[in-house]
Symmetry: C2
Subunit: 81 residues, 2 copies
């Protein structure tokens, strides 16, 4: 079983990395770019759990480690390989 | 118009960040996790280009700046807001 976890900055939280990418794209001539926001994702391989339990445990992993829920949102999708 | 660009390490390239996350999940008791790979994505807002041209320019942005194509793969999807 695999899961993909997406972590993004909450709306309204400043994203200096995205601003830097945006400025660099402008310098390269891509003036049509008006905003960039950067996020990360994690592809997690999980063994031997029923789907329902896997969902609960993934939620806990996100809350405890994978996302900083003060400033970040997360979501995940589970799929079979 | 918006685009989401996904950047991942190529298959076979070591992912120390993923390994660290995996080890931390084990320490927290999530022994069912067997592998973690970390990637990033960028949500890009683009103004005033036909879709076909936007695709070509996004491809060039990825090759020039957004991905290190020696060790990273990229893909992107374009959608209307």
């Amino acid at each position: 079983m695999k899961a993909r976890v997406y972590v993004t900055l909450k709306r309204g939280v400043l994203d200096p990395q995205g601003k830097t990418v945006c400025a660099s794209l402008h310098q390269l001539g891509y003036r049509e770019v008006t905003d960039v926001r950067v996020g990360k994702f994690m592809d997690i391989t999980l063994g031997g759990l029923p789907r329902r339990e896997a969902e609960q445990r993934l939620k806990a992993m996100c809350e405890k480690l994978l996302a900083n829920t003060v400033i970040e949102d997360y979501r995940f999708e589970i799929y079979e390989e």
